[in-house]
Symmetry: C2
Subunit: 328 residues, 2 copies
């Protein structure tokens, strides 16, 4: 008994993996949310998902050794776009290079010889915020991740909403502007993600440059080098067109947030990811347009908070937090 | 003890009240969901909410006497637009004649000398469906009421979502068409309710009549007499313009339902209320447009069901069901 108990406390680390459309972050986390070791690799350039997992395994083995070996690992928590908590599969993820239904949890489990559990990347982030971040103590909140794409995790009555089939919380794909901008990955028009993501900011900038003769610092940037960061840099230098890009992005995001508030009436909306670095450039129009689209009963009640977790940590933390809830 | 126990079983009836924008339904219900006695009155024509409650009390007293007296009543459950489960208040309800914050549960409690509990009318309907109707056994579903307005009740993880402040589930006020049709009650533009309600169908018909010269049976209907029922009657007689009204209504509703599915991934959406009487005229375009706006992972999974509860009963049933959950 003494041996079992000491071995249990010794095995008290979790592996957290966050698979994004561009990069994958991974780390080893203790129960208190300390990221002990972490790393990052590209998600792209692997023809088969198995090749990706082989490389991820190789990279993680180094960290696992540093942390005392595989015996200390209780399990693997994975956040991935379109990840299904119930089935452990990633299904038809528009932003991942591999198509169809991928049995990701099972592949991880086989490769690492450790129990693995999977969810939507933004659901994982929401769990991370609830356990260690801005949503600590909240029972009703919505997490929105503004990165290459737009993800979301919804907590109501203190529990994450997985929905009937485990795919709940795809707010990035809700239609905000009917017949609006085409989304390459989904083939749908006018979704939140096609506007309020890093990709969306870039496309809005290109549209504004093409449809006006207004002078702008962005006209000096070669098209292939234009990205949301460049738009931000121009905006803080006072570039009017660049500022309009964020105003427009915030107006679409704000309208979407109003709709989400009228759905689940959260205490707060937690924003996370690259676009939040634009600060008030995007937050101010977002707040304004959220409020102006809310009916009276919801006005001036819902906080919009920016995650204060270190970006590289938060995703890993959230994914690792899944492990502590695992059965067995 | 024997006396207390028999008195408890004797006191096993609940009063259910459903307050709508136009009419109020009330009834006395047993634990098995049998509506023993019921009635209906207009919600309009009372300057003060207290006058309305006096009249409601007078009407209900007759039924209470028939059912064995006030001593048999365990409590009052009320469904009302913008009703707040936590505070027992109705706040800024755009479709009710009384403005501001109304302490409805307290007023009822004082007038009837019985414990009273309140929620959003559509939340009450959702509880009714979950206990006695089409959502029996479901843990994740969305109830949409298509009447004078559009209401909603959302169940996730087996629990109704009240949200942080008790006002969750106002899907009728989500913006579906930015800068779209003006909503008299809220001052907002392009909300679901301004299209997919009985009022919305009438307005769409008027727009179509005004903006075309197409012949239509509806041109013979005096404008003041034009309503969703007349549009339905014309459509089943093959009137093309009238059918287009339902096609358009279904297209907006379908797009909205797709957004709701991508939020909480329900097993089913239960539709209820006057507009559902139009059957496939509205359901077919609704289903088509829901599916075409869903990303792949949600397609062909979510049932759209029409409530099979008798309309007059369902609202009362749902409101009365609140009583069985009351503490004390």
């Amino acid at each position: 008994m003494a041996k079992a108990s000491s071995s249990l406390s010794y095995e008290s680390l979790a592996i957290g993996i966050d698979i994004g459309g561009t990069g994958t972050k991974y780390g080893i986390v203790d129960r208190n949310g300390n990221v002990l070791f972490s790393g990052e690799m590209s998600t792209r350039g692997f023809a088969q998902v198995e090749d990706f997992i082989d490389e991820l395994h190789n990279n993680l083995l180094v960290l696992i050794d540093k942390a005392g070996g595989s015996g200390r690992m209780r399990g693997i928590g994975v956040g991935a776009p379109n990840g299904n908590y119930y089935s452990g599969t990633v299904e038809y993820a528009p932003n991942l290079p591999w198509k169809g239904i991928l049995p990701l949890a099972k592949l991880m489990q086989n490769r690492f010889q450790l129990p693995a559990i999977l969810t939507n990347d933004a659901n994982a982030a929401a769990i991370g915020e609830m356990m260690y971040g801005a949503a600590k103590g909240m029972k009703d909140f919505i997490m929105i991740t503004l990165g290459t794409g737009v993800g979301s995790g919804i907590v109501a009555n203190g529990k994450l909403i997985y929905g009937h089939d485990g795919f709940a919380g795809e707010l990035g794909h809700t239609i905000i502007i009917p017949n609006g901008r085409y989304h390459e990955g989904t083939g749908k028009k006018g979704s939140l993600e096609s506007y309020a993501s890093a990709t969306g900011v870039k496309l809005t900038a290109i549209e504004k440059l093409d449809n006006s003769t207004e002078s702008s610092l962005l006209r000096d940037v070669p098209r292939e080098g234009l990205d949301s960061r460049k738009v931000y840099d121009a905006a803080i230098q006072g570039d009017r067109l660049a500022k309009e890009v964020f105003d427009f992005t915030g107006s679409v995001l704000g309208m979407a947030l109003a709709n989400f508030v009228m759905f689940s009436s959260p205490e707060a909306i937690i924003l996370f990811g690259g676009l939040t670095k634009a600060g008030d450039l995007i937050l101010k129009p977002t707040r304004e347009h959220m409020e102006s689209n809310l009916i009276q009963v919801f006005q001036n009640k819902v906080k919009i908070l920016v995650s204060h977790l270190k970006e590289s940590d938060a995703a890993i933390l959230g994914a690792s937090a899944l492990v502590w809830d695992m059965k067995g």
